[in-house]
Amino acid sequence: MRFRTTALVAAVAALGLTAGCGAADMTKQASPFANARGSKTVTLSVQSWVGAQSNVAVAQYVLEHELGYRVDTVQVDEVPAWDALSQGRVDALLEDWGHPDQEKRYVADKKTITDAGELGVTGHIGWFVPTYLAKRHPDITDWRNLDKYASLFRTAESGGKGQLMDGSPSYVTNDKALVANLKLDYQVVFAGSEAAQITQMKQFAKDEKPFLTYWYTPQWLSKKVPMTEVRLPPYKEGCDADPAKVACAYPHTPLKKFLNADFAKSGGKAAAFLKKFRWTTEDQNEVSLMIADQRMSPQDAARTWVRGHPEVWKRWLS
């Protein structure tokens, strides 16, 4: 113990000397694990869905093997990631599905976060049924007919109503408001995580059972379980402004990257690379399928993809 105690005493003494006067701004603190032993570290935030893991895995591989950085990843959901990003506790958020409130507060007002351009992937959230069900009941893909089929979707957790399955509590969703405002005979049931949702969907699909779910594209599972979207009242600019009164579909969102403002300025090659990082839906799906379906580790999947697509990632380094 003495070993560590001495180090601690030294650290506290150093703190006393350096911080003896002036203010301590806790919003400008890096992670204590960053830049250890002279290595250059980039801290990336990972979100729980596989697409986000793919972005981070490939960025991590290129940063480590081409640019010589050490990469720390931290699991943070999108909204807390904005806060962590603004405080410099993570350096980058690679896939954001649109958080206008946070964007206004941190990018426009406080200027602690910088917009780092688009990821190249366009995301779309919606309500989906499996294609085998849409073939059986072609009119199920219109929201006005959903009540007619509510009994098909009844489960133990939905209590007499039809079940609309949602995934992780951290995702962008208006589903509870939608069900209420469209006066549907449905109950929103959160699976708790996307992985749980996927497990459920796979089990349903194995027996071709009916289900209605919150889902999104691009998603690797759509290759395994083909899905058909249910048409909601069309999206118009601003129709989702008041979260309690939403009664329209979700928009098509070009996914964006954000960097901590200080990192964007002084992050050197890593920051330049992350700003240029841009790939297509197909590229992302290729890595996602390797991770989620072939059970490869994210590192291995990233290595495989990087070896196969030098023309894509060489552009990010130039």
Binding site: Q29, A30, D72, V76, G192, A196
Partner: protein, 652 residues
């Protein structure tokens, strides 16, 4: 609880007690007869009346916004919280860099040497093996991150706990003020501590360390104070008569006399800090907990296990080493000073040589080739289980079927029953049970805590959580009492159980989620199952101890009167061990609640889900209200099951 009070009252010896219980019930019934019709008429419906709620989400949301907007400009943050936060980051970083500089060989040798000095060769070998296993699982860097965080949090907790303990041990007034607070803090689930620190410090290591300190300091304070107060009056008198000053008395007599309790406090603090450091990965602690959290989010059981095993190893090693120090202190054995110094010099030389060797060969980080990938085979095994055990097993049914049946036949009826019961009736039930088991004081606290849940406006989700707690407690008690009775009656059974219990009791709550997700999928049933597994060891141990401590004379007498084995158990052992049984129920309830709320991560829903949601969406208002409701629920459950006299409890 019915199973407990029946044999007790059957004894007949405490007819007086029964009449008093009857009196209490009558008084409550009278109370209810007056108030219930009025309440029912005024606020009809079963759920807590909306008119009696206070909506805190508005003020809390604006408080959270204010913090975010003023964090970098307000003096409170610049001159106070900023320094706290900076100090934490600097300390963790210093320890982390030291650990990395020592290299994997250096850290392993250092750990083994310390274990050898204080606890002997076997533990030293165990420690070294544990560190090597962490490396072999590919978890060296996360393990060091968790260790760095732990070292800082534990040292801070010990300092804080010691200070509070000294204050409470030396001043009666402070003791009276602190004891209820510390008592309450020990029964609260770790989960409830996360949100308030996030509100002030944001997601990150400082918040994680501070939450850990708040959670881990109370046992140190309690046990220090206990040790100081238990000092032998004869010795104190002797020291005082020798003319020692107050400081001399404290340093040379009272503290050394209390060293056994203090060491137990250190052990408890370390275990609680480890448990919290892992849960705190939800607020950005990083390290091993973060790997488990990431893996749980993608239901990757193999990866979760690879990160979970180092946590368990760390916990077992730390527990054994500190416990061994405590025992050695208790015996008061000291080696000759000359030999100790020489030995220390040799050990330091060995350590320095290893670190230097590591540095020179450039082998500071764990070599990549030495990593065994256990995730893939574990996942293959899990997939096989899902295919073969999950559902459709003939006769017994699959694990998923059990989970579904448990949900529809046990959890749903209890939840619907609780939610269907009028709110005032529920308050009365709480008051009645608490009063029968404890005093009017505990009953009042329990009822007020329950009412506070209603006022917070989370009556329904809280009852959902309560239903999961009750179901899990029932299962735990049935299994736990069965196992304890078996262990108490057969020495072989006890020998087989003991190591299992030892390991189970030292594992952090988070780890229990991994196997249940693999077996039961996602939902309320796995959350309850994890809680059962977590609470079981404590119940078995307390009940077993209680049964074994039953006066052998009484048993002998019963046997000579020709009582059968079952009669001995039901009419002698269980009634005489009543206190231990009640304590077991109390422990069980507290431990189950702690895990049921963590179950929000695997689809447990209710209050735990609200906390997870609050963290995930940055909606601190929802999370804080749920956290407060968890606190109230914990308080209520503890007081309801609290036997008249308090015992020192083994922390979670």
């Amino acid at each position: 609880m019915a199973t407990l009070s029946v044999p007790a009252s059957r004894l007949g010896a405490d007819r007086l007690l029964r009449s008093r219980a009857l009196g209490k019930l009558l008084l409550l019934a009278l109370f209810a007869a007056v108030l219930a019709p009025w309440a029912a008429a005024r606020w009809p419906g079963a759920a807590w009346p909306h008119a009696l709620t206070v909506d805190l989400s508005g003020p809390l949301a604006s408080a959270s916004d204010w913090v975010v907007d003023n964090r970098d400009s307000h003096p409170l943050f610049l001159y106070f919280f900023g320094y706290v936060s900076n100090a934490v980051v600097l300390c963790v970083r210093a320890v982390y860099l030291t650990l990395l500089a020592a290299g994997w060989a250096g850290v392993t040798v250092f750990g083994a040497l310390v274990a050898w000095r204080v606890a002997g060769v076997r533990l030293a070998a165990g420690t070294a093996a544990a560190f090597l296993a962490c490396g072999a699982l590919g978890m060296w860097v996360p393990t060091m991150q968790t260790l760095a965080l732990m070292v800082v949090a534990v040292l801070a907790s010990l300092a804080l706990g010691m200070l509070l303990g000294l204050a409470a041990g030396l001043s009666d007034r402070l003791d009276r003020a602190l004891r209820p607070v510390l008592d309450t803090m020990q029964v609260l689930p770790a989960f409830a501590y996360l949100l308030p620190v996030v509100l002030v410090f944001g997601i990150g290591v400082p918040a994680a360390v501070l939450a850990t300190v708040v959670y881990a300091a109370p046992p140190m304070a309690r046990l220090t104070s206990l040790g100081l107060r238990a000092a032998d009056p004869g010795v104190m008198e002797a020291v005082a008569s020798l003319g020692a000053t107050f400081r001399q008395r404290l340093l040379t007599a009272r503290l050394p006399l209390a060293r056994k309790e203090i060491m137990l406090g250190v052990n408890q603090t370390i275990m609680m800090a480890l448990s919290m450091a892992v849960i705190a990965s939800m607020i950005g602690a990083g390290g091993l907990g973060d790997r488990v959290y990431q893996a749980l989010a993608s239901v990757d059981v193999g990866a979760a296990l690879a990160a979970g095993i180092p946590i368990v190893l760390l916990a077992v090693v730390l527990d054994r080493v500190t416990a061994a120090v405590g025992e050695r202190l208790g015996e008061g054995a000291e080696a000759a000073p000359g030999r100790t110094a020489a030995r220390r010099a040799v050990l330091a030389a060995v350590l320095a040589a290893v670190v230097l060797l590591g540095r020179l060969t450039g082998a500071l980080t764990w070599p990549g080739g030495w990593v065994a990938d256990i995730a893939a085979p574990v996942n293959t095994a899990k997939d096989w289980m899902v295919d073969h055990l999950y559902s459709g097993v003939p006769v017994v049914g699959g694990t998923a079927d059990w989970a579904a049946h448990f949900t529809t036949w046990v959890l749903d009826p209890i939840r619907d029953g609780l939610q269907g019961l009028p709110w005032w009736a529920l308050l009365l039930v709480v008051a009645a049970v608490a009063w029968l088991i404890g005093t009017w004081r505990t009953a009042l606290t329990a009822t007020l805590a329950m009412a506070a849940i209603g006022v917070l406006g989370v009556w329904k989700p809280s009852l959902d959580t309560l239903s999961q707690v009750l179901a899990a407690v029932a299962v735990t008690l049935v299994i736990g009492f069965g196992a304890a009775v078996a262990a108490a009656r057969s020495a072989r059974c006890e020998r087989m159980l003991r190591p299992v219990l030892d390991v189970c009791q030292t594992m952090p709550q988070f780890v229990y989620l991994i196997p249940v997700v693999a077996l039961f999928g996602v939902g309320r049933a796995p959350a309850a199952a994890a809680a059962v597994v977590y609470a079981l060891p404590a119940v078995i141990r307390i009940v077993g101890q209680g049964l074994r401590q039953v006066d052998p004379g009484a048993l002998e007498a019963a046997r000579s009167l020709g009582a059968t084995g079952a009669q001995q158990l039901w009419q002698v052992q269980l009634p005489l061990a009543r206190r231990a049984l009640l304590l077991a129920v109390n422990q069980c309830v507290v431990l189950v609640l702690a895990v049921v709320v963590v179950g929000g991560l695997v689809g447990g829903g209710a209050l735990g889900y609200n906390v997870v949601f609050g963290l995930a969406q940055g909606d601190l208002a929802t999370g804080l209200v749920a956290g407060a409701a968890i606190v109230c629920l914990g308080l209520m459950l503890d007081r309801v099951t609290q036997p008249v006299e308090r015992h020192v409890r083994k922390g979670a």
